[in-house]
Structures are given as C-alpha cells and as structure tokens.
Point group: C2
Chain length 286, copies 2
C-alpha cells in the first residue's frame, strides 16, 4: 500500500494529513509561508455531540454574504439548529430545516449575487485547463479560483462552503450553508456563492450518515446532527479562541508543490492535477 | 434549496438518486437502455453489520486481476477480513490488514500490470479535456475512460474500485482493494489497476469513520468494519442472487444526458462537466 499511501499523504487538504516529508523538499513550506487566519474570518460550529467544525470565511471574495454570516453568528441564529441534509456524493447542509425561522435584524435577505469574483488573479496556475474552466489556480491567500476568460470565481472543491438558495434569482441569505462531501461539485461554480472552506472537523462532517430521502434531507429530526452554537473566533474570549494558519501560495515552494503534484517522482506516471487537488494545507497555529 | 437539489439529483451516480424526471426528457433512458450486469461480474461484499456492498467487475478491462478476484471470492479468502483503512477525502480499503494471509492456490501474486486498457473507445466523449487527460468519455458498457493520445485507461472516479499495491513494480494481487470516497483520485490513473465500481452500498462505505492514523489505517482492530463474506452472484443459489442493470451509453439519450450536464437549462450558468460527473446510473433489476 506504500505508493497509495504516499499518494494520499501528498494529496490531502485536511490539517492532520499535511505531514511534511522527513527531509525538506523544494515543495515543503518554510515557517514564513504559514499565515494566520484572522479571528473574524474564522467561524466555529460547535455541534451538540461535542465535535467542532472550523470554517475559514472568504470575506474578501463574498463580502455581502460573509457580512450576513457574521450577523447570523452574532445573533446566535444557528444555535439550536442542525445539519439536516447529508446527500451521498454531493453535500452536507446546515441551518434551519424549516426555512421558516425569521432572520435577525440587519440581515439582507437576498444580497446581490456573489457567484463570481472581481478578477482571476492566482498566485499559482495549474498547468492544464479542466472540464469546468479555461484556467485555474490558487490565490496568494490560499483560495482556489478559476476563469473562462470572461469571468472568475471561487471553485466548489471538497470542503468549500457554499450558500444554499432557492431557484434564481435567489442568492440565499447565508443562513443555509452547504459543503461538498464527495466528488467535486464544480458544476455549482458561478451558480452559488462560495463563502469559505472547512479547515477543521471536515472528517467528521463527511462521515455523517447519508439520507436516501429526497435531496438527502433527513426524513426525521432524530437523524439530524444538532448545532450547539456558532461563533466567530473574534467574538470568543481571547483565551478561548483557537488559531489556525494557512499555507500561502505566493512563493516558489508552493509553485514546486503544484509542479510535484503534476509531475510526481518516477516510477509514478504523471496524469496531471486539478485545482481542487492542491488546496493549501491549514494547521493549528503551533 | 431547489436549485441545489436539482443539481444533485441530476448528478448522482448512485442508484437511489437516479430518479427519472417526472416527464420524459431527451436525456432520460428508455427501457432498452438498461442492460443486465452478468452474475459473474457482480461481487457481493456482505459486511458483519449486515450491510451489503455490490461491486460491478470490469472483467473485460482488467482480466488478470478480475480472475484473481474471482478466485479469492471462490476460496472465501475475504471472509472474516475487514475494511481496515478509511482515510478522509481519499479512500476506503479492505482485505487483510496484516498483508500476511497466504493467497489461495491459483492466484497470481503479481499479475501483469493492467493500469492501462487496450484502446480509447468511448461511446460518448466529454466536450472538454480535463486536468488529467486530453480526452475522456463513457464506453458503451458504461465505464469511464480517458486518454493522453498515447494510452487509455479506466479512471479513478468516486466509487470505482482499484487494486492496492506496494511500490512499483508491484501490481497488487487483487486481495487488497480500495475505493475513492472523496474528491477524485484521478492522480492514481495509469498507476493502479481499476477492477470495478461499487454499484450498491457506497453510501454506507463513504460514511465510515475516518482514521487520523498514518494513511488512514485504523489503529485498532475494534475500529475495523468486519467482512462476513464475499461472493460472486454467480456462486450463490439462483434464488439468492440480486440483479442489477446499468444504463448503456451507446445511444442518443445518454449523449443528451452528457450534453445536458455540460449545458444545463437556463438560468443555470454552464461550467462544464468531468467524466466522473456522468457515470451511468445503475439500478436493481425491476
């Protein structure tokens, strides 16, 4: 299983798998490559069963929806709600399953669409186009982006967080959120607002029981995973705040990491890579 | 959540989600499009907890490894073994965790590599290249294939089944098998032998608890999911055999299904598709 194992360790985008190689390689990060996730860009979802899910918010890319999400967290709107939808090879979704709970004051019910971002400005580009875009890459601050040469957007990779919504023109308020738990949900690109990425706790969310009911929405309340509370780290007492760092992409080491993924060492036959294969590692601040 | 729901229902490659639209569309299958999976190409993995996983074997694409797998099943080699590795956003793997169990007579310990297939002959092609190949598509008999114009191979999509192995030149015997449970494992293409696809029970396998241990191999025997028995359907009494059908791809309806995935109805903005997004539906034989 050695080769399969190495392929995995190199692949994973979750903190516990971001194990550095024994001896430093050209593609290993140096300490300066690790940058702090600001407290007000870190949303903590504490589940009723004690598990914690941490979401890095894409505040610079979806400002209107992230503003709503911050207001919802400060209003404790999600406290007592649940993860109510887990659909096989698609998404896990949380919020208010009734969609009837009033939104707190100050929330824009349907913000302007933020399905796309201002510009395609990756620090590192993937060598090849993929089936969903003409070019893609990772921004300096660690987000996956793509373009068709007319527009740019954040991509729906595994563990990214999107805003669920009704049929267009709804953009969603940010109260109902989802994360892809299976193969890429890239077909949602440019059609849903991407507001963040799960940077801790994803291994728990991805292993929640699937529902066979329509759209994977649990048929009974008993199947749901309760949400005890959702808070911004910045709203917690300083002593209670967890801290995370992401690996920045604007350096030759990250460029080498992508190149190594696209051209692994022999005897592995290179078959390329997708932007979702090279999401920057995130780690608890040492 | 309507739009997200529809996106899902159209997307899923698992039986329970292959719900036909209310009114027939150009991309809906007709009865003649459903073809039986032969009993000797259907492997049933009955787990100790009562769940059943059904694997369609790619007998025509990896004959040496499938021959081994049939011998292992007939020798009841997997009975009492387990799913011993579940690594977040990578693979679930089963067989003998000690890798010490002797193989039964007649097994070729290291068959010739079947990482690639004889020819790239899809019945339907994807419109765009992806990050892993210059062209890809679905064969008439429902398998995902890709090429770089020099070679062809079955792709490591979600729920496909591959042969775990040690470092090259090992090709694996087929006794240790894995399935991708997260984002695409396409980087394994041309480096591991693809022997099948899980066509029932994947929603259970994908929700097994992840392990934080090295390579996701459970640190304790208690974490493993036991395998009660593995049998070919053809080795069960006729009355006990389940039957499944796959949707054939060599027809205009499947071509329309791919086109609809690549160019969904307005107002959805089309962003393309990947061969792993269009795996043919499989259903229990009505």
């Amino acid at each position: 299983m050695i080769a399969l194992g190495l392929a995995l360790l190199a692949a994973a985008a979750v903190p516990q798998a971001a194990t550095p190689a024994a001896a430093p390689k050209s593609y290993d990060p140096i300490e300066a490559d690790w940058r702090a996730i600001p407290d007000d860009e870190l949303m903590l979802i504490d589940l009723a069963d004690g598990h914690r899910v941490a979401v890095r918010l894409a505040a610079a890319y979806a400002p209107a929806h992230v503003a709503n999400i911050r207001r919802l967290a400060r209003a404790r709107w999600w406290d007592g709600e649940s993860i109510y939808r887990v659909q096989e090879n698609w998404v896990a979704q949380w919020g208010d399953p009734t969609e009837q709970k009033p939104l707190p004051p100050g929330i824009t019910d349907h913000p302007p669409a933020e399905f796309e971002i201002a510009e395609f400005a990756p620090a590192q580009r993937m060598a090849k186009a993929d089936g969903y875009s003409t070019a893609s890459g990772i921004t300096a601050d660690g987000w996956p982006v793509a373009t068709d040469d007319t527009a740019a957007w954040l991509t729906h990779c595994y563990a990214m967080v999107g805003v669920a919504r009704d049929a267009a023109p709804s953009t969603g308020s940010g109260s109902e959120l989802f994360t892809p738990i299976g193969q890429s949900a890239r077909r949602l690109d440019r059609n849903y607002t991407v507001v963040g990425r799960i940077v801790a706790g994803m291994a728990y969310v991805s292993a929640l029981p699937r529902s066979d009911a329509t759209m994977g929405v649990y048929a009974t309340a008993a199947e749901r995973t309760g949400i005890a509370r959702v808070r911004l780290a910045s709203d917690l007492p300083a002593a209670e705040r967890p801290h995370f760092q992401y690996r920045a992409a604007d350096n030759i080491r990250f460029a080498a990491a992508i190149a190594h993924r696209e051209h692994p060492d022999a005897p592995t036959v290179p078959t390329g890579a997708n932007v979702c294969d090279v999401l920057p590692a995130v780690r608890p601040t040492p």
